[in-house]
Symmetry: C2
Subunit: 361 residues, 2 copies
């Protein structure tokens, strides 16, 4: 079975691109279309069952064990490739990002991260000192997070066929008994929280990008979030679902939640914590802070009675400083995210078509 784009019957398949464009890697609509129309059908099971292909998958560990039943241990499994340019930026580098990003994907399904893998595609000619520094950053980030890198791979490609180094991490974790997070648990009236100020990672990377350099006093928020998640679960906050607003920012994440939960989301624009420096940079560059990537933030949907408790748990951790309730789940406009603006009006927050920024994760 070979996927032939000319046979795809969906409306406007892949926006009629015949080749890969940068937007396909954006975390926006183009990327979602690639998943829906190309990856998901190709990776369907023999019985036609289609896998979700979310940021992290749950694998039932007892499926293959004798006497396995329901409610057994579930493994969270996730992977991400990291191709950010430049590889170092205020507050972090490709190495931290590769470790923290995969830990966070595992944590967002409620799992305790256990171990990471790291695969490198190196370009011939990369200085070994630079590789050493990158790998040391990865090791340091893994030790900080308490999640070891246990296996890996290295390939070298000819000069001119890479970009120094591409890193792909994968991560595994265990979902604690009784924890069940996901869009199926979202209810009308739920509170939408963010764990801290948004837009810092994207603006930090942009501020040092070739041709874009500007003096923004910002640092990437790159950080491992499994501690925050464990805190929420330990406090028995009724967490419905979690997601980290990386590529496509809070806008993309809220759109994903709205579509997957079949509910509307109403954001209160004035409640979204946008640091002054991010706001200024966004104004200067014509960007929407809601669409800027984050690497150390999570969006949490929690039961309405638990919103305050959740904010307290988040704010008690330095990584959750500045956590805020930014909106609610609504019965109106299912699948659509609307922001109430400062002037009493409202605007639709669409899933970005592609990236508004150069690649930043």
């Amino acid at each position: 079975m070979v996927a032939d784009p000319s046979n795809w019957s969906c409306p406007v398949p892949l926006r009629h691109h015949e080749t890969v464009v940068l937007g396909h890697g954006s975390g926006g609509k183009l990327g979602a279309e690639l998943i829906d129309h190309l990856f998901r059908p190709a990776f369907a099971a023999a019985d036609g069952a289609v896998t979700d292909l979310g940021d992290a998958a749950l694998v039932d560990l007892e499926r293959t064990q004798a006497g396995g039943g329901t409610g057994g241990p579930r493994l969270a499994f996730s992977t991400d490739s990291f191709v950010v340019q430049p590889r170092s930026f205020p507050g972090g580098n490709l190495g931290d990002l590769a470790v923290n990003g995969t830990i966070n994907d595992v944590a967002m399904v409620g799992a305790t991260p256990l171990a990471l893998s790291a695969a490198f595609v190196l370009e011939e000619g990369l200085p070994l000192a630079e590789l050493g520094a990158l790998v040391s950053s990865m090791g340091a980030a893994a030790r900080r997070a308490g999640v070891p890198i246990v296996t890996g791979d290295t390939k070298v490609v000819d000069r001119g066929h890479g970009d120094g180094v591409y890193v792909t991490t994968a991560g595994v974790g265990l979902v604690p008994q009784g924890v069940d997070l996901g869009p199926h648990r979202v209810r009308v009236g739920d509170a939408v929280l963010v764990s801290g100020p948004i837009g810092l990672h994207g603006i930090a990377v942009l501020s040092v990008r070739d041709g874009f350099e500007f003096g923004a006093d910002v640092e990437s928020d790159t950080a491992p979030l499994h501690g925050l998640v464990a805190g929420l679960l330990r406090a028995r906050v009724d967490v419905r679902m979690l997601r980290d607003p990386t590529r496509g920012g809070v806008a993309a994440t809220c759109n994903e939640i709205a579509v997957e939960a079949g509910a509307g989301i109403e954001l209160v624009e004035s409640a979204v914590p946008v640091p002054e420096a991010v706001a200024t940079a966004c104004e200067l560059l014509g960007l929407d802070p809601l669409e800027v990537a984050n690497e150390g933030r999570l969006v949490a949907v929690v039961g309405p009675e638990d919103a305050e408790a959740a904010l307290e748990v988040l704010a008690a951790d330095p990584l959750g400083a500045g956590a805020a309730r930014i909106g609610s789940v609504t019965a109106t406009h299912p699948g659509v995210v609307v922001a109430r603006t400062g002037l009493g009006g409202s605007r639709v927050i669409d899933l970005p078509l592609a990236e508004q920024l150069p690649r930043i994760c």
Copy 2:
């Protein structure tokens, strides 16, 4: 902590290269040095404990569970990046390879593969039809093996900063209770087996490489080997350890086994199944078939009494047709692999320094 090559005190660190060279990705000595001197120290745990960073790691799933003890479930976890050129070759393509290769790494520690992830680094301009064909091959290979692809990621890099598509797969599996494979179980007198004819993958890829095209009647042996492994374990063959002889071929694999087990290996050259077409191509090109990559073969070290039973189990499966005993574990020359040649002499089979072929996995 930043790795500074000038501080490395080991003899001839990284052969004094200051930049990454193609050989660092070869599965030979240069690659091993990169792991020993750069990755392993950087990824050490906070207490200084160094991880093995083997092809597949074992993760103790009960370490973090309340009441966890020994003998609990162990997860096998592995990753590999695939950068083969050309992406299609007689008998397979990059997609099959990415699925089978990772399944095999998981299987070589005795685990039952459960799920795969797939991360793509796409170069802007890659025809979507080609991506579709590749992804379809991956889906088909996953269905054939019965191991689903459950999560993934896509990044797009600027034109000229990739090579069409690089795929990184990771895999997870469960090690059945009581299964314990590894170099620590190898004993003097053990038999060394190979599951079938060697060298087919490497020669198949080489036969269609730019500038090398020649008419060899060979097809890649790319195949998932977890069925063979399950067969051996089911038959209660005393398997000491398994490894798939990919990059660096049987030579590299036997050297790894000898070094890790602290024993010698004596191969009987005339017993190694080298297909006629592989032998001819190797003679033509001045290659050693023992160093040519395989993607559907395993090397098994088994207890001496079980060698015949193991060969029967292997040969009963089409993927094990042509299985043969190729040597023994010896007390002499620990860490060294020696081949008895046809003329009654012997030669040392060294770990290849770098690849003798262009990258083929």
